[in-house]
Symmetry: D2
Subunit: 133 residues, 4 copies
């Protein structure tokens, strides 16, 4: 274990290979939550897809009467922000459950998708538009 | 750095405090993706909420004509599963972006929500219904 | 006005041309409802799209833990059915409002879409698969 | 049959009682469409709820990068408006199908809901805030 806050890239890589990642930890926590309540049978892919839709609907409801111009101020209201935080948590919970019961590795699939998006939506590198010498 | 696959709980805790968690890594990767394309202005809370809805709609579309009984077989089709994996990745990407622009800590909010759910939906511990000796 | 329950097709067509259709009646009723409350400014296309999503989420929530096999029995529960009826009404209300503020003729667009679907998804006429004599 | 464009309220009421309303006409047209293709079994309540979600997702996708300020201009683009019209039609089609398979009278439920909303959200009548003499 390092003695200060500095962790070399190779050390970090080594550590990451030895511990579960945060998605695995959440997935396992939710598995235990569901198993303790015998809810496993209810958590079918279609049930979870419908539940996920419901939670997204609760999120959009929070923003339905807030115009683009008002949204920054709206987020300064701690109760409004807490409700939004609650909804994004609910969405993530059902998304992790959905991926789990479908045997989809959510984290690696997301990195793979970002990789594909990087190719699909190319962008100029900082040097591309540099003035000629 | 440990020399084998065993990592003690205190070592793991120390390690986690020194490196960004997987949600921070994804958030930062997506920030760079967005900034490189000058898409920051488009990623307002309401725009992202509408985009999130669109991606959830793509997920439900994948399952709309698959009955509960057929879904296991459906998931054995690698192309069907790849499409679902693609959709859950899209949903997570927009969810992380949404939380980021709203300054919501997605990971800690999700653990806090699971904690609240543990209280809201109590369950018998394995021993609770044990027959008395 | 006909003296009995029989109405010839030409009579019916003539009548329909003289009275507003049911979508126009609903649209006008909702316009008056909104105007009486000074809600017109809130009913922008994006606000209504977010509100529509919220109502669809409430509909899916009603069915999220009901399996395909249980849904017929579920609908026999008058309270469950009343909740579903309430949600489909909410969805239609926001859909009519959305179409109205976007100046879309919901009824004629729907017939036009069904016409296109008839072409897009051809079907065998009853006689097509008749056994040869 | 009236000889001009004037139709008295009692005539109109009598006429409406003799002909199917526009929701019944659409419902019947869609029943024939579905039956001709043997799609009836696919149109279960949950399948249609998932399909409805998919269509709403297509609607929100159309508006996800259009800010509140830009939406009026966006709607002036005939292709953008045609896509929106297509989506609202798809939503109505699945909503009518959903109500039909659940044996819900969409039109009367919607009027009943508006009636309840009138009570739930009272408003000042034009004379209520009149200055005292």
């Amino acid at each position: 274990v390092p003695s200060d806050n500095a962790l070399s890239p190779s050390h970090e890589q080594r550590y990451r290979s030895l511990v579960p990642n945060d998605f695995q930890l959440l997935r396992d926590r939710l598995r235990r939550f569901v198993d303790a309540r015998d809810w496993g049978e209810s958590h079918s892919p279609r049930n979870l897809a419908l539940a996920l839709t419901g939670e997204v609907g609760e999120l959009t409801t929070e923003l339905q009467w807030v115009t683009d111009d008002e949204v920054d101020n709206h987020l300064k209201d701690p109760r409004a922000k807490a409700r939004l935080a609650d909804e994004v948590a609910d969405i993530l919970i059902y998304l992790i459950r959905f991926a789990d019961v479908c045997d989809i590795d959510l984290l690696s699939e997301t990195y793979a998708k970002i990789d594909r998006n990087e190719v699909r939506y190319p962008h100029k590198s900082p040097g591309d538009d540099a003035s000629p010498q």
